[in-house]
Symmetry: C2
Subunit: 286 residues, 2 copies
């Protein structure tokens, strides 16, 4: 039995065919171009594989309100050619199998929850810090959705005394994405994150703001684990800095047994998205 999965990102689509044990049978990476060109390549990849269903973790914003007329449609994205593109309906039509769709971060969260860093707990958040900041939440094996999908990367945090950097988000001053994303770090320092030395004090600032966001998420969602991934977190020295700041800010208000396991790195390398998409697909097959 074969399952299809797509991590549909703004720069690339990772397509995968897996068996029921999550074993990858085939895989390809497609550059994200215009919708019709991208989907032509997607069809081309899947046509040789008799998949029974397809799961998609998509970039967004995407309409995930099942009651809505535009369920599964990409909404107001800066990628103009994709704006209002009915991704779910088009994939159903061209692949001809049942398709499940969720956000990229929800899919990644489900992947880590079922097979990765949160396999042993009942609820977890997955946060990606890269070009943007996004987060998903899974509880009791179910992806959390509100009336629309959460936009947790845009919560605002308390600013550090004396920090005059106004953030890089065009929508909100001092939202977490505008303070800790890759572009935000580059805007603040004038240097790409990967080129900034490990002992540069900017990492303490970044860790502090990430910790402020984690404290807010903790107080609202109370997950059993928080997994942080994404390009910025390739700077592995950030993890201990974040944990230290987190403890300082939370100030024992909620008991967290062990902050080392509470705030952790992903276990599925960069595959949580596609593995989670496959999990979504298995779920609609029932």
């Amino acid at each position: 039995m074969l399952i299809g999965a797509i991590e549909a990102g703004g720069t690339k689509f990772v397509c995968s065919v897996m068996d029921e044990f999550n074993e990858t049978k085939d895989r390809c990476v497609i550059q994200t171009q215009k919708p019709e060109d991208t989907l032509a390549e997607v069809v081309d990849f899947f046509k040789d594989h008799p998949i029974e269903s397809l799961g998609v973790g998509a970039f967004g914003p995407i309409d995930l309100n099942v009651k809505s007329d535009t369920y599964g449609t990409i909404k107001n994205t800066p990628k103009k050619e994709w704006k209002d593109f009915p991704l779910l309906d088009e994939l159903k039509r061209i692949i001809g199998v049942p398709v499940a769709v969720d956000t990229d971060v929800n899919a990644a969260c489900l992947g880590e929850f079922r097979f990765g860093a949160a396999e042993d707990v009942d609820s977890a958040m997955y946060i990606t810090i890269g070009t943007g900041v996004g987060a998903g939440f899974v509880k009791d094996d179910e992806v959390f959705k509100g009336v629309t999908h959460p936009e947790m990367g845009h919560i605002k945090v308390k600013k550090m005394d004396g920090d005059t950097f106004r953030g890089s988000c065009p929508y909100h001053e001092d939202c977490i994405e505008g303070l800790v994303s890759g572009p935000a770090i580059e805007k603040r320092t004038g240097i790409k994150g990967a080129d900034i030395s490990v002992d540069d004090p900017v990492w303490e600032t970044v860790a502090h703001y990430i910790a402020e966001a984690l404290v807010n998420y903790t107080l609202v969602l109370c997950p059993e684990r928080i997994i942080i991934g994404g390009g910025v977190m390739k700077q592995a020295h950030l993890y201990p800095l974040i944990r230290t700041e987190f403890k300082k800010i939370l100030n024992d208000y909620i008991e967290i047994d062990d902050v080392e396991t509470y705030i952790t790195a992903p276990l599925l390398n960069d595959d949580q998205g596609v593995i989670g998409a496959a999990a979504l697909s298995k779920d609609i097959r029932g």
Copy 2:
């Protein structure tokens, strides 16, 4: 068929006996004293009413982790006599019927969700702003719980430029409770909220911070409605101020169809807690 409900607050216990149509059959208010004295009066009230089950919305922090050995026990409260008091087990023992317990704000949220200001939607938050700030969240008719109950009243928000007030919360500088609770308003102005004139600029500050918190809750939980109650919100002129600030801060990042119905006052007067407690009680009866 009779149902028992208790809104177990830090200053008073409101006990109620209702029929299956939420009709109140009897009711009493007990001052919160030492646990044994308070519960003696509770037993005294219920002994004449053959209730089939009891629901309790309790002050806290209370352990709501069903897997925990101290499930239903009041934890680290400043009310010393209640610290480590096994409220759930004691009520079961002395009343002799099945007892369901949740936080006061979760119960209140469930009350407004089923019978009040959120009767027509699938998810809602209830926030109380009074001596403290607390919030509950109900989605698809179920009270939301993480690994412990949320402490949403302690999230931190972006500070207004030039605001040097450090908040009144002993745990966290600039958490929302420390900025907008009754005691916070009094600490900031030197005047009790009820005595501050409606056109005093402090209300704009308070509305701004409440709106900052609502934006963060919205981005994380995406509820369909937010209901704000509690003593501070008796200042009804706050509602339009909060809505205006909310729109300004969210800056259209998430589409909210109608902010007038999205942010609203409770409908159950001060009875959402006890009505929600009765709802909890009906649920365990099945």
